[in-house]
Symmetry: C2
């Protein structure tokens, strides 16, 4: 078994076992935040025709080649085209068509002048400057040309993609199913949220935090509940998760103690352990295993240790499972805003948030960095890396950091 | 009526008329993304007791004051405390208690040594170095101390806040109701997404894009549909929106043309117009009005013009309505990644995305900046501002920018 491996090694071991979920077709109105399972190609132009950007007159640009303030050209208005109508007449030399915002440019016309820049007298309009061909004409396909890809497979559907699909008449959207994630908390010390505290006991918070993070990235979490520190019970609960979901995440029971039973439980149900422990702080004690082509990711029971590894390993794995093309956390360089006073014999990830000041990216720590501290995940959108063997880091140090979500 | 006012003036006129929505109490499992309507105060410590961070032995630090590699101190192990149990015995001089990760520190003990750092012989444990009082003890309240505020009123509930509430046994969460936003698209040229294109017509995309953006910030959008360019019909549709929702957003019909009817429609139902047109590009033609203490925000029919103003004015207004404390878009300074070749006689907002490279924040334009271009909203998370009267902007120019969402 792989033991004490690097984060990157753990990631490859997990990614090798990733089986993306199946597909479905859903209504456009349900597509926000879902992952596209096919490229979306425009079968029409947006806009579908050349149109006017404002209310004015359409005419032939060459008619105005000699127009000036003192010597306007005067054209005859032969028709009025509101938006939603189509011009009946062609525009020939000496003629113009009154046109409203969004209306199609009439045949023969190749320029538009704003209503406010003209002088109108009955059915005659005066133009006081010369225009170039195409001036003030929004060409067909300005936004999206026919056959262009508006969104690739693996992209998350955002509001403007919804808008583009609506404009193209795409009311049914091909997406990946949401991966179902079974969540288990192990430990004899755990109470559920509705139970009063008893001596030596704490309430289960990890299941709820993990479920919420899963929901944020478009997965479908199922909280299976808590289970005590007995190998058979934990094994049975994990097997139930494998039966019901696309992946199992557990917390607790993965360090070296006598009562740390998840490793044994995973073996007892015949799962193959991929690794145990990775070389990071916080979160070193964690393991991954595979059974039935599904991954079991077992994290520490300490909230911050569990959640930091969930962000570094679990989120990208779930995104890959969910069909995201960009499933890896983006990496940036930041400057540390305040001193970090501890040495880092082991590779360390600090919880913080991105602050941009005067065009520079800073990382501000969001609170205590202990294994058990959940609170510093509030507002945390950055995990900054301190390499193994580092001295304390003064403010202003440059660090690599992963952007969360 | 206020006409051609600044973005900031428009914002104050809107904010003055903002009536936050009412409150409700919901289950913790439904609270993700909702806005807290009360401060959340811890009524307990997290963790509730001092505990061990790992598997080891708890003892009195002073017993080890002279311990060294060559001269270990040997303590008698009197009890074993797994997580979830409470120690029965007090630890006196010369004694130790075997303790597992997360278990309460026994009375009398004030330090913990890792299992791996000891030598064990029957019920005797050898310790080879001296410890300070409190060493390797996680104090009660390390994460959250009793009476601390874990999240203020007006904050959006994120996954770690869900976790903290779970840890504190808070299963019912006080939140603001989701504001209901009625969305209307006006224009004789509009088809619905399921209709085939006809000459001169385009499909309604704005309603779908706006609904999706509303959903992203936690509002509850209701698409009322499209309505042609007739004052009575538009007025009736806006009134229906006021009856059903907390705010109405419409697109189209707000410029100067003969067929631009929303201004008249708003007056015809007795709403008070707050302003018409603001000094920005894109999106100058827009108006806001109030009736029944509810705001009507009427945007351009051009997608980008509508959506840029929605981001600059609508989003912060809806967030304020929804009870957010941080309802204003954060402002940062960025450097322009590429040239922007146009002069800006009017104050202009460019669509782009934040790119952090070597610790510097850049803005990369996301595509064409025309009024009708929806596509450059894809991936756009930044609106950078070019002041009125500016020349073309070379790459590297410093700009103020609003971060979206």
């Amino acid at each position: 078994m792989n033991k004490n491996i690097s984060l990157e090694e753990a990631q490859s071991l997990l990614f090798e076992r990733c089986m993306p979920v199946s597909r479905e077709t859903i209504n456009l109105s349900d597509a926000l935040g879902r992952v596209l399972s096919e490229n979306i190609i425009a079968k029409e132009n947006i806009p579908p025709f050349a149109r006017s950007p404002f209310d004015g007159y359409a005419f032939r640009a060459e008619d105005t080649s000699k127009a000036s303030k003192g010597n306007p050209v005067i054209l005859e208005v032969i028709e009025e085209v509101p938006a939603g109508s189509y011009p009946r007449e062609s525009v020939v030399s000496g003629k113009a068509v009154k046109i409203l915002t969004g209306a199609p440019i009439p045949e023969g016309a190749d320029a538009v002048i704003k209503y406010e820049e003209t002088e109108v007298n009955g059915n005659l309009v005066s133009i006081f400057s010369s225009f170039k061909s195409g001036e003030n004409v929004v060409p067909a396909g300005e936004d999206v040309a026919m056959d262009e890809m508006i969104a690739p497979k693996g992209m998350v559907v955002s509001p403007p993609i919804i808008g583009l699909m609506a404009a193209l008449g795409i009311s049914q959207v091909p997406v990946y199913k949401r991966p179902k994630i079974a969540i288990i908390s192990t430990g004899d010390e755990l109470l559920d949220i509705s139970e009063p505290l008893r001596p030596g006991m704490i309430r289960n918070s990890n299941s709820y935090t993990l479920a919420a993070y899963c929901r944020e990235i478009g997965a479908d979490p199922v909280i299976l509940g808590t289970v005590g520190d007995r190998v058979e019970d934990v094994g049975a609960m994990i097997q139930r998760g494998l039966d019901e979901a696309d992946m199992v995440i557990s917390t607790g029971g993965v360090s070296v103690g006598d009562y740390d039973v998840v490793g044994e439980a995973v073996s007892s149900i015949g799962a193959e352990t991929l690794y145990w422990k990775i070389e990071t702080k916080p979160g070193s004690p964690n393991l991954a295993a595979v059974k039935d082509d599904k991954v079991i990711l077992s994290l520490s029971g300490n909230p911050a240790a569990a959640l930091v590894i969930f962000h570094l390993l679990g989120v990208s794995f779930i995104k890959k499972l969910a069909g995201y093309t960009d499933y890896l956390l983006p990496q940036i360089e930041v400057k540390l805003k305040h001193n970090f006073r501890k040495a880092s014999p082991r590779r360390r990830f600090l919880r913080g948030k991105l602050v941009i000041e005067n065009g520079t990216a800073w990382m501000e720590m969001t609170g205590g960095q202990g294994n058990g501290v959940l609170r510093s995940l509030v507002g945390c959108n950055l995990l900054a890396e301190i390499p193994a063997g580092s001295e304390p880091q003064p403010a202003g140090s440059k660090l690599k950091a992963y952007l969360l979500q």
